[in-house]
Symmetry: C2
Subunit: 190 residues, 2 copies
Amino acid sequence: MELLKKTIEEKGQVLGDSILKVDSFINHQMDIKLFNEIGKEFKKRFEGEEINKILTIEASGIGIAAIASQYFDYVPVVFAKKVAGANMDKDTYSARVHSFTKNTVYDVKVSKKFISKGDKILIIDDFLANGRAALGLIDIIEQASAEAVGVGIVIEKGFQEGRKVIEDKNVRVESLAIVDRFKGNKIYFK
Amino acid sequence: MELLKKTIEEKGQVLGDSILKVDSFINHQMDIKLFNEIGKEFKKRFEGEEINKILTIEASGIGIAAIASQYFDYVPVVFAKKVAGANMDKDTYSARVHSFTKNTVYDVKVSKKFISKGDKILIIDDFLANGRAALGLIDIIEQASAEAVGVGIVIEKGFQEGRKVIEDKNVRVESLAIVDRFKGNKIYFK
């Protein structure tokens, strides 16, 4: 997606070997016009697929998924929670996720009320790196006997194993920008 | 806002004296059509006000704020973070918030890059109860010498002190549904 790549080149910041900061337009400050273009592009990529729900994970996925839903007939968007809140149902699907970025382990949880057997679910997230968050969501979808139709990613780090991890589960991955490598401050896309 | 009140009556769940669960359409599963109506209504309430940025707080405010931005000329949406992430700037505005719901204290942080002197900011959040989260955001806006034009709330607990706390700071509050009281399972609006 050219507009996205252009925006990443203009506004993204490379830190070290593997960190790409996109906090000025994706995951701290959000560019809602760009999010609309991203939503349209996800729809194009998954055209013809039956999708009745979008699943994402707090916090960075929420804005993207909410806007994208508008291009998928306003299907409900469920966001998995990283910490069970005080008011959260005890009756949840849960998966453990290892974050390589933050070097921590956390649980993702979704109330059982919001994923049903037979649901056809599109997973949306901002980044794909090691794929562990997406894998956790696929795990939760499988626990509910629902179907992960695909994973829609804004930025994939093509030099990490996320795509392989997800495709090994026979789930399709569509990434709108795939970074091949960073060199100095320059970003090379696939 | 009648559609919102009707949805709360139909799908909200009252727990005990003061907890209203709206996780099936607002803060775990999100009804994006409803969010669009909410966004339109915020625009109506703040019609004529100059607003160049929306500020919210993770996680529940993000989806609402992202959709609402579409009715405010796609102004950037910044979400305050509750915990500083690994990739977050060290250079942040910060405020301490006491959560009565969870009986904890946490810090909210916004990178200094994303709030500038003179910004005219609309705060958006899902709930107003004791007002401490909104107050933290107003504090951050003041640290940046920006202006809090108003606070747009989806559901206000009218029997708690949030409105007073914010209005004492001379900031306008617009709530789309104000709960007067709960009695048994029934919700009475103001």
